[in-house]
Symmetry: none
Subunit: 201 residues, 4 copies
DNA sequence: CATGAATGAGCATTCATTCAT
DNA sequence: TATGAATGAATGCTCATTCAT
């Protein structure tokens, strides 16, 4: 429960909204205070430095994505489960498009911020572990662990890259192409296993 | 060609260096003037607004990558050519790591800047066209154009996603994993064609 | 005496330490709370306003100097007593150097603060009265009171000025020069009296 | 001759006025800009940091005092010259009272600022040298140089201490006492020489 | 072609203080 | 008695930009 501050949640919310709509460079203490309807001093009562505020917002954004993925109903078909997880990470509707914009902005900032880079690495590691397992199950443990890990690296990069393209261009790639591209790669990876081939290919 | 270009090139160079080392948010007219060893007024003589300066630097960064790709010696093996082009886009050494940092910073900024988004879209379109052709050749024209386009989307996303991961974390993914991941996906995509399977897999 | 005084003393102590080490401008409620190891609210429980806190610290600083002067063992030689009192006010060792830094910082602040100016004036008046008496005794009451008062003014100014020089420069004037300068002036003032001339001149 | 910025002079003037009237802690970039009638940006164009601005103002304040002392008409009576120089350093009228407030504020700040301490030390050194010479002449070279130096230390401390007392209290010491105290000490110092005794003693 | 003076909006941050508990 | 949430004004400073030269 940790009623641990509704205010704090409102602040990270405000940060995410601003990032999604105007980018990280538009995030300022003033802007956040205004968006959350509190005073400047209050923002800095909860987050003494801007870096801490951004780190909290990044963590919250990632937590949200994780919560959505974990809420996914999984079936007995491991290959299908894998597919639905990856699809969940694509910016297929407006809410996930906003999520991707936020994720991408923070990820890019991680290139020059130690605190954000730490979060980014932890996030990727967790997702990578889960997907490595998923590949193991989807291939009936026929693959050596190293190949599972490599495939996990590849598909995370794939969905992150697709999200990057979708978010940084205006409609250059549409939602059908996003899912089809994932299916195409997944079919190729799993073609020589007992996994059910995609029906969309 | 003109003498004017020399100064201008020095300025875009300075921008790229700053972006690679400290990120886009560190780019300021002052910083660029200092790095290029010219006055603050001179910078603004060539680039009246910061946005124009950034657009020029982004264009230059992309041109550099293109020049490197076009300079690649291509052989008769279309699958191998495809592989070497993609490998060229990965941050496999320090100079390409810097390039990726620059590309990524600008791409992320494109999410909220119309002028940068335009450049990003043009860049992706050009690369996509080239890779679509490459897939056509690599599969002996056995694939329908739509499948070639989809595969092109996928592999560009893959390398951009891999670059994203490499650049935004400190050594979370190493250079061998980068090339292996590309090979793994490429092998999967081309497995049912006459294309030569990767020797490194 | 009361248990309340313990905390309060710890707070004025903290203020004096900060002033001695970093100057008055570094004194903030936060800093004092941190240095004293109490909460920020506690500081303001004892000292509702910063001005009250500073006034209390100034008073405490002055009290400490007075206590040290009053603890001096006085002999029958009035001239020698005078000399030893003045010497006690010079920054001759590290602890008195800190004391002088604190005194000086507050004294300078008194130029623009009514409450501090009041304390400063009371302090000077008390010291001036004591030294006027001392001159009376040292000269065997041969001087008119007005001359004693003037001499008292002069020697207080002398030691305060010497302290000012010592504290505001790094080693520009050393401890020997401080005491010698006081002796020189004192010898000059007392030369035509029965007072014992300084042995150090 | 170095029209080197009337603006700059106006800015240091503004700083000195604010310091004289409200103390150093009231000096802010905004306040100075307002007092000088220029924009905030202009202030920081001339003085990139506050510390540089304060250092410039301190230097200017000291230069002004020096100019006034150097403009003093000196006669053949070395003792009288010495007296008139010291008198010039006392806050005997409103303009010199302002000067003293400024000098004292900066001197106190020098206790915790390296850049101000440097200026303070240079100022004292220059004055000390001049007064050491003056004592040499006033005593007909009868004193050893070390005694002249000591006497110079003493009288500078005396006038600085008197200024401190005058400035930090409201009328606790009046102008007559200031000059009389200097005369008293000077008479004492010069009593055993051929120097003319003060007529005011 | 190149400079640098001047501007004012904006930044993150620190601050003393009030108030409910 | 002691706490810390909340506030908003103020701080020094950086910024992109305009303009006269």
């Amino acid at each position: 429960m940790s009623t641990r501050s509704a205010r704090e949640a409102a602040l990270t919310d405000a940060v995410m909204t601003i990032v999604a709509e105007h980018g990280l460079e538009r995030v300022s203490v003033r802007e956040v205070a205004g968006a959350a309807g509190v005073s400047i001093g209050t923002v800095q009562h909860y987050f003494p430095t801007k870096e801490q505020m951004l780190a909290a917002a990044y963590t919250e954004a990632v937590d949200r994505i994780r919560a959505r993925v974990e809420a996914l109903p999984l079936g007995s078909d491991a290959g299908r489960n894998l597919r639905s997880v990856l699809r969940q990470l694509l910016p297929l509707d407006e809410s996930r498009r906003a999520e991707s914009r936020v994720y991408l902005a923070f990820a890019a900032a991680a290139a020059t911020s130690a605190s954000l880079s730490e979060i980014q690495q932890a996030t990727l590691t967790e997702l990578h572990t889960a997907l490595t397992d998923a590949f193991g199950r989807a291939t009936g443990e026929a693959w050596p662990p190293s190949r599972c890990r490599l495939a996990a690296h590849a598909v995370i990069a794939l969905v992150d890259g697709l999200a990057l393209h979708a978010v940084t261009t205006g409609g250059w790639i549409d939602t059908a192409q996003l899912t089809d591209a994932v299916d195409l790669v997944l079919d190729g990876l799993l073609v020589d296993t007992a996994a059910t081939p995609s029906a969309t290919a």
